[in-house]
Symmetry: D2
Subunit: 296 residues, 4 copies
């Protein structure tokens, strides 16, 4: 019988709906969040709140983490009062944050030292997709961790794809995906500038493509935002997009893979941040292309 008890660390805009879905599916969930008030919002759904990461973890049990970056994940795992003080032999860590492959590989090795296993399992989808159990999950790591995490994946997402034993592989996939999304945004931005300068309506252009050969969520969702320039409030902040493209570039440098398109995206993000747009939606890199064409 599948285990129905997990610790869930990181109750942010993604983590909250994910933990809630586990609770709804009958899981017993102990939660931890650095700002405790966000964790307490789940009490009504049946969650137990812990003051420390270790306090949420059961020895030999399963812990899911959904944190904002590498530093937060390392602190929660290796720091004082962290996961590894408690998890122990037979424990499983399902790491769903967007972090570098190097961090996953390093943490996996720390888990192995104490007989625990580790699976990297980052997700695609925004908070509404998380709430609707519609995330796309890519995962990689230790066989035992992957096996025990599957029931959790089936609660949280609509698909889960195994990328093998390298603990960093799933992170590479996630970073590649965010790179591909922002590449699509840049391509649409240039097409929109060309169209607008030729007197073509932005929405008509986007509608045409997203009902034709580009009829998929990335183009439909982001295309809509681009056509309307509805960059605030942010669905995914530009400064977080910068973090991910930076991780992609670092990973590419380590692997010796020149990625000129990633460099272009990085330059657009940096320009956007210099211009005070760090808090807008990451699609707002479009404004730089419009400005180059003197459209604004």
């Amino acid at each position: 019988m599948a285990e129905k008890k997990v610790a869930f660390l990181g109750i942010g805009s993604m983590g909250a709906p994910m933990a809630r879905n586990l609770l709804k599916s009958g899981y017993s969930v102990t939660v931890f969040n650095r700002s405790r008030d966000r964790a307490e919002k789940l009490i009504a759904d049946g969650a137990v709140v812990s003051d420390t990461p270790a306090g949420a973890v059961t020895q030999g049990g399963m812990v899911v983490t959904m944190l904002s970056n590498d530093a937060a994940l390392e602190a929660v795992t290796l720091g004082s009062g962290g996961i590894l003080e408690k998890l122990g032999k037979g424990g499983v860590h399902v790491s769903m944050s967007t972090v570098s492959p190097e961090t996953s590989r390093k943490l996996a090795s720390k888990h192995a030292e104490i007989g625990a296993t580790f699976v990297a399992a980052p997700v695609f989808g925004r908070p509404d997709a998380a709430a609707a159990q519609k995330l796309y999950i890519c995962f990689s790591g230790d066989a035992e961790a992957k096996e025990r995490a599957r029931p959790v994946f089936s609660v949280l997402g609509q698909s889960a794809t195994d990328f093998g034993n390298d603990h960093g592989a799933a992170n590479v996939v996630k970073l590649s995906g965010n790179f591909m999304i922002l590449s699509a945004v840049q391509a649409m931005s240039e097409a929109l500038a060309l169209a607008e300068k030729n007197g073509i309506d932005r929405s008509t252009l986007i509608n045409f493509f997203t009902q034709a050969n580009f009829a998929c969520p990335v183009y439909q969702n982001y295309g809509r935002i681009l056509a309307d320039r509805s960059y605030e409030p942010a669905g995914f902040k530009l400064e977080l997009g910068m973090k991910d493209i930076r991780l992609a570039r670092d990973t590419a440098e380590a692997a010796m893979v020149p990625m000129p398109l990633a460099d272009l995206l990085h330059a657009r993000l940096l320009e956007s941040i210099a211009k005070g747009r760090a808090g807008m939606d990451w699609t707002a890199i479009e404004l730089a292309t419009a400005e180059d064409a003197a459209l604004r």
Copy 2:
């Protein structure tokens, strides 16, 4: 009652299935092709073959052109024995080739001089989509021409979107679309190089994304080719992709729109042609990215 008679000029890999679909739908079709033998293959389907463009055209009637480039379209329209020697007042020219907006604007003006009308109506879709009446059509131009062309569009494609009165607008849309497609190819190429260097299987990566947030024809069809590196035989030759990206860049320069991603694609195409890959599928620009990473 809708007219059921058209001239169809340009019986290539796209034009042939399109003309055949018109014949099947009850149209009386007179065809012309520079190499007459390709036109003659449609005789069995009921087509009449003409020796000249003008010979295929009915005065005041409708002519559809599907030719390989601007020069061919101009020759067939303005040259000796060309369309404009015959089309006359009330005639309609439906130009479905991928050409520059400037060529459409120039030709439209020539049609206006003789009382004929012009609609630019380029299409998205490969020959198999043409055969299946699944093309996506974008069109723009004279109101009368657009009205009279609608029944033809409904035979040839699964959708047709009106981009207004500027005769060049639909060409801008078509060029933007091909630019967006090749941008997607470049994005996938860089992601694949990063993945491959990290030991991730190419097909698993493509399958994951194209069943998730990139589940649309462009990523599915081209992603499959990229994962397998099945660049020969070509579905759409790289040298034709170069023609289209060159037209997009020329249009961008005329409109004063910097398009750094289009520049990147142009450089990849040029490198590919220098390396002898002009006859491969245009997705073969991927090889340049792999070579930069010393993967080949």
Copy 3:
């Protein structure tokens, strides 16, 4: 004895001081300019003014052209009342304009048909260098034309380098040189933006490098303009720089040479023109880099 008679066509900001130097050196010079008033200013220096290109030319003699672009050179050479109506067997055409190698090759062939010879001999240097007989000349073409042009080169410039028999070669050198100059401008622009954001004085930075390992005219002259942002009046207009980079890119495409740095320069020029800077000095591409960094 060297011939001391030439026709000089194109009395612009470069042509005027060059023709004047020939007059000072004892040459008998007949001049032509499309706007006759500019030509007439040389009468006081001893020039004879002609109403047509052909009228300035002596049969079997030497004609020097210094015109603004390919179209002007073709018109003056091949048009009605043009050079080739008069030049004849034994005539020599010294073409000093910045034009495409293709134009030189085509014109050389037209000259050969009538027994005349052709040398492409574009120059480096601004009007003040022209006045001071300090131009750097690169030349290529027919042996006889090169031999007969040498005394003219020694009047006009401080050095003249032979690039062989291909009539287009010297034009490739000239376009390469302008590409290298604008590349230096872009490099200094990025360095200045980085420095300025770090609180470093622009002039101190430029002075340091141009008295050290970058102590040469390109960096000293353009560095001074960049440090001061003295983009008006223009020494060389940005729109002319665009013409030259476009020619360089066209030449690169014909030769199948990807030039990503040339693409970057083209994008900066296009952005600058979109922003209304076509009439500024071409170093004003720097403003785009500063704007990307939100420095303005």
Copy 4:
């Protein structure tokens, strides 16, 4: 009277001739190098060798460092047996390595805590220029340190320029300079590819420009290497160039300055390393441009 005693840490290909020049000028020099054998070669010139950084330093005296990277400089300064264990109040640290501005700012702050002063003073010039006392020095930092370092600068270089009080400023200048040098290499590489494809001799092209408007050491020295493709043995290893361009990019990201040309150089360096050229001279990035054009 100027102090005539210094500690010199880092006896590599640059540090050795620099320390030797100080000895020749009458300085008493105690040297340290991680591999002691390199330090011992200076004994014949009058140097005293120390086993540790601190052992070479005099309390309140002057120490010059010339090390390979940020980590080495930090270790020698802050590590066990490091400079700060001994330097003390009134001591001066002249840091001549190419490191990040952040490292200089951090180290300056550590010196201030103990009453010592710090000046960043990186240099331009290869080992032969170091031997000939021909280095170009840019420096910035504490007033007292700058004043006391001046006599040392006048021994080591042909010029020294003050960039103010920010300890990181001189490092920004150094990184900008290396960026400008490699930009020049890339510009020459593209020009050479264009020329070669047009049948123009590489050496003739380089000779022309470097005797004309590009007559300065960067173009003359690197142009010669590029024309001959004499990339081995390396004057400055490509992997070290990568380090410096990486530092420039990191500095640009911190300052929010998009540098697309720096991105292009980084991609060329990364491609070169992927292809096994890390040990060649950094001008060998040229090969990537030639390969893109199918010239090799």
